[in-house]
């Protein structure tokens, strides 16, 4: 009898907990609180936070190789399957129309990727801080947070630095949720009141056929110049083709509803499984959080500055505020551009104009991911 009791006692959490695990359970709870009470990207942060709690339960081994989270991780994250399927769903949900109607604005989505590559440099420079050691692969995985795109960050992170994946995903989604707080001061600092008041002309009509051709065009350019980006860009294009072609609506609907929901649950839980105490509670995580903030800020600034250049070049036809939307974080960043524009001029609706750079930013960061995977991976 005593032996049985002892066995049971030895199998309690009380007997087995480490301080780190308790802290991580609090971190998981904190993410869930941010998601529910503050609206921080709940679709991802609730599963990630809950996965983080499950991963830090002693004895149970839920994130171990034979546990639920470990099995899901090996099947879907290590292989890249989950982020690629999410990207397909994103493609099936994205209307590239606003971008096609004024393609020149795509350049804003390119400029904002400066945040990624500047952060790569910053992460390497951080090695000068004692206690932090980032390899080139680590640095690249962290830098991609600046892409402000969840599945891209998880895909690159899982390929280049799986040990940092938990922190990278948490940083990426948290900062995406914080876009309405991070971006406005930078946007206002870099623009004049006159620039912000700029009204933009109405968008031209985009035909169905242009929309069908676009994903094939994008895939074509990518496969010729940067095949390493084709898994991500390819699935985005595939999803978008399902949506736009108009003859496979049942597949398109499944890709953007049930399938992406199922994969989101699995992806969130298994990414949360990477929030293990010994990996997460380290100086590296603080570095990742700091660098992620730098990446978002620099990306926003680069987009706005490119917006100012276009404002000059076009003789005032482009409102620089839509430049910040180039970081992606669809559609939050475009909404922020719209909001700041309305503050300057209550008749100034920038939302649809900002959607162009916004979705271009998704493509831009997928391309940047391809460069990182090709050179560093």
């Amino acid at each position: 009898m005593e032996q049985g009791l002892l066995e049971l006692w030895h199998s309690t959490g009380l007997y087995n907990f480490t301080l780190g695990q308790l802290l991580m359970i609090a971190v998981g709870g904190g993410l869930i609180w941010l998601a529910i009470a503050k609206g921080f990207e709940p679709l991802l942060l609730i599963p990630i936070g809950f996965g983080g709690i499950l991963a830090n339960i002693p004895v149970a081994g839920i994130a171990g190789p034979d546990g639920l989270l470990g099995i899901l991780y090996n099947a879907g994250i290590e292989t890249g399957l989950f982020p690629l399927l999410i990207f397909m769903g994103v493609g099936a949900m994205t209307d590239f129309g606003p971008m096609l109607s004024r393609p020149s604005l795509i350049i804003l989505g390119a400029a904002a990727q400066f945040g990624i590559f500047f952060t790569l440099f910053g992460a390497i420079a951080m090695n000068l801080v004692p206690g932090i050691e980032f390899s080139m692969a680590d640095a690249a995985a962290i830098a991609i947070i600046g892409g402000a795109d969840g599945p891209t960050a998880i895909y690159v992170g899982s390929q280049l630095a799986p040990d940092l994946l938990g922190a990278i995903a948490v940083a990426a989604y948290s900062y995406m949720a914080l876009v309405p707080i991070i971006q406005p001061p930078i946007m206002k600092l870099l623009t004049t009141e006159e620039e912000r008041q700029t009204k933009m002309t109405q968008l031209r009509h985009v035909s169905k056929r242009e929309k069908i051709l676009f994903p094939l065009l994008l895939l074509g350019v990518t496969l010729i110049l940067l095949p390493a980006a084709t898994p991500l860009v390819g699935m985005l294009c595939f999803g978008n083709l399902l949506k736009e072609c108009g003859v496979v609506d049942r597949l398109s609907s499944t890709a953007q509803n049930e399938l992406i929901n199922i994969v989101t649950i699995f992806l969130g839980l298994s990414v949360g499984g990477k929030l293990e105490a010994d990996k997460f509670l380290s100086a590296e995580t603080l570095g990742i959080l700091a660098l992620g903030m730098v990446a978002f800020s620099i990306g926003t600034a680069a987009g706005v500055i490119m917006g100012k250049i276009m404002y000059r070049v076009t003789g005032g036809q482009v409102n620089p505020l839509i430049g910040s939307a180039g970081v992606s974080a669809v559609p939050m960043a475009a909404r922020v551009s719209n909001k700041i524009g309305l503050q300057a001029n209550p008749q100034n609706f920038l939302l649809m104009h900002a959607m162009g750079p916004n979705v271009a930013g998704v493509i831009g960061s997928a391309v940047a991911a391809g460069v990182l995977l090709a050179v560093v991976g």
Binding site: F117, L120, F121, A125, M136, A139, L217, V247
Partner: protein
């Protein structure tokens, strides 16, 4: 690899990366503009009918047949 070499490599990557992003997206701008000029304006989208591979009379006949069949039982 010492820190200086890494720093230089990461600066190179900055140049390469932004270069690649700009080349690809600028090319995309060009192609989109060309497509926009080439593709004819919309002509009330006849794709729908072609896609189903059935002409309207045919469809009418089918519905009629099904209707008749249903009315008579089964």
């Amino acid at each position: 690899m010492d820190i200086n070499a890494l720093l230089i490599e990461s600066l190179q990557l900055l140049g390469l990366g932004m270069g690649a992003v700009f080349i690809i997206l600028v090319l995309l701008i060009g192609l989109i503009s060309i497509v926009a000029r080439i593709v004819p304006a919309e002509v009330t989208a006849p794709t729908g009918v072609v896609a189903s591979g059935v002409d309207p009379q045919h469809l009418a006949a089918i519905s009629a047949a099904i209707h008749q069949h249903r009315k008579k039982g089964n």
